[in-house]
Amino acid sequence: MKNIIVCVKVVPKSDNIIFDPVNKRLDRTKAENQINAADKSAIETALRIRERVGGKITLLSMGPPFFEPFLKLGIAMGVDEAILLSDRNFGGADTFPTALVLATAIKKIGNVDLVLTGEESSDAGLGQVPSQIAEFLDFPQVLFASTTDISGGTLIARRSIKGGYEILESDLPAVVSVVLGAYQPRFPDFKKKKWADNNYKVKVWNGEDLQLSESVTGIKGSFTTVKRLVEIPQSSRKKIIIDGTPEEKSSKLVEILRKAK
């Protein structure tokens, strides 16, 4: 194997986001961040593939400088390198320019056999970036893989489908999106984490490094815009509390279930 790229995004833990109904804005200042959960499964997938067939794993992320420490977490999990694609002009991107920036960086890295991503990011949850990276690189794509392996220069992936599963085979190089829960991601190595925090320098590329003009990245390169943010109304459920002894509770439950018939 030559280069394996894992695309990762840093996302806010959704519980910490506060919606300000007056200004219709999101307050993310109190939000803790984390590597998108499915992307961790993608890192784990890459590490397992490298154990079997070798290769060099590079984490790739487009985002602001505060992403750096999270990429170092990836280094501590065992990846070889981390590159942050960061530029003021990249801000406000929808999936199209995001995928374009990532694909351009992947071309710049060169000699890539496999691009792994998470199935979707939890903050936007669009799951479009993987197939658009594939389109811009003209690579085949396999989405929603639960297991991914390389055998004899071919990619073999399994994915769940309605009522069962299917096993797909793909030419390389390819883009594969990995489902959340595909593999339990390993913990970062404590010593490596310390080393990376102090000594590892994340490579940073900007728009100029990628030779991408302002007009195709960030807000300017996006096709979609958020027209409105609306608070989803809280559920208007009755919230009737049923208490008592287990006996009493189960009697009440039987009554409710019977009534519904």
Partner: protein, 324 residues
């Protein structure tokens, strides 16, 4: 030039067509009335006439048929090529695709190829006065609905979450069929299916009574199944259980699973993450049991019971049997 049309991708499967495609046609009829856009069903392959009729009966004013045997089974390479070639010169205003796995696979890549905007997993759709499609997407774990519009690029694309809209049959509806035969002989299919194992499944979106188990069941669904039998209910699970293989993926309820419309849903040992609760929003009555009185699930149910399912369920089953 764009056509003043709304196109709905009709996803075929072994038994005919995915429900979500007909559901979008149902919503599409409404959008078509508002905007004056013509509603078109896009079918690929060589389907039986029955299927074409079905699409028209569910509201399509016209069927666009991409006729080629190579399109009878989904593949990214063939489908993206055939569809983009067909519409790139005069794209429709709007193109809607069901957010199934293959639907999402197709939509993302097609939007990349056509250089247009795509919104994913919409749960609301409307068209404003300027003819812009607004697709509502739950963001940030489902606390907020972001209404997204495609400013540049046509078609304005969106995928639509299955189970969100209702299908409507339109009696005596007539519609024409436009045929186009794409040439795919030069396209290489780079991803191939080497094995497929599927069994018949019940469609959870149609389940009238559903018992849903979460992590609180510790992955043991025995009691749930017993109770399900007594009340003639279907079983559903949260994502962690589906991830662990305790139950197959099509029994997963939630934002990346199915949305239920059950009359009654019994939710057992589920913490009530928004990814989950979005899937039970349309249930008529929800009952939840959880050991933790602070569980978020209690904000999403009609009857809240703090208790241990391993204590309450055996008693409930016994009483159900006795009073049958």
């Amino acid at each position: 030039m764009t056509r003043k049309e709304i196109w709905v991708y009709i996803e075929r499967n072994n038994s005919g067509v995915e429900d979500v495609s007909l559901e979008i046609l149902g919503k599409g009829t409404e959008l078509s009335n508002i905007s004056g856009y013509i509603l078109v069903g896009l079918i690929a392959g060589t389907p039986e006439k029955k299927l074409i009729d079905l699409v028209i009966e569910h509201g399509a004013d016209r069927v666009a048929l991409l006729k080629n045997e190579m399109l009878n089974e989904y593949s990214t390479d063939y489908f993206v090529n055939a569809i983009s070639e067909y519409i790139k010169n005069d794209p429709p205003e709007v193109m809607l695709i069901g957010a199934t796995q293959n639907g999402r696979d197709l939509a993302g890549r097609l939007a990349g190829r056509l250089k247009t905007g795509l919104t994913a997993n919409a749960i609301t759709l409307s068209i404003d006065r300027e003819g812009m499609l607004l697709a509502g997407v739950p963001a940030y774990g489902g606390k907020i609905l972001a209404e997204i519009g495609c400013e540049y690029g046509r078609p304005q694309m969106s995928t639509v979450r299955p189970g969100t809209f209702k299908m409507k049959e339109v009696k005596n509806k007539k519609g024409e069929v436009d045929e186009f035969i794409p040439n795919l002989s030069a396209i290489r299919q780079r991803v191939r299916i080497v094995e497929r194992n599927v069994s018949e499944v019940n469609d959870l979106t149609r389940s009238e009574r559903t018992i849903i188990g979460g992590n609180g069941t510790r992955g043991d669904l025995t009691l749930l199944k017993e109770l399900a039998q007594l009340m003639n209910a279907e079983i559903g699970v949260t994502r962690p259980l589906a991830d662990r293989g305790v139950a197959p993926r099509e029994l997963q309820v939630g934002s990346t699973g199915y949305s239920l419309k059950s009359k009654i849903a019994l939710v057992l040992g589920v913490s009530g993450s928004e990814h989950f609760t979005s899937g039970i929003r349309d249930c008529e009555e929800v009952i939840a049991i959880d050991v933790d009185e602070k569980s978020e699930i209690f904000n999403h149910c009609d009857y809240c019971m703090v208790g241990d399912i391993f204590e309450v369920l055996p008693l409930t089953i016994k009483k159900m049997e006795e009073t049958r």
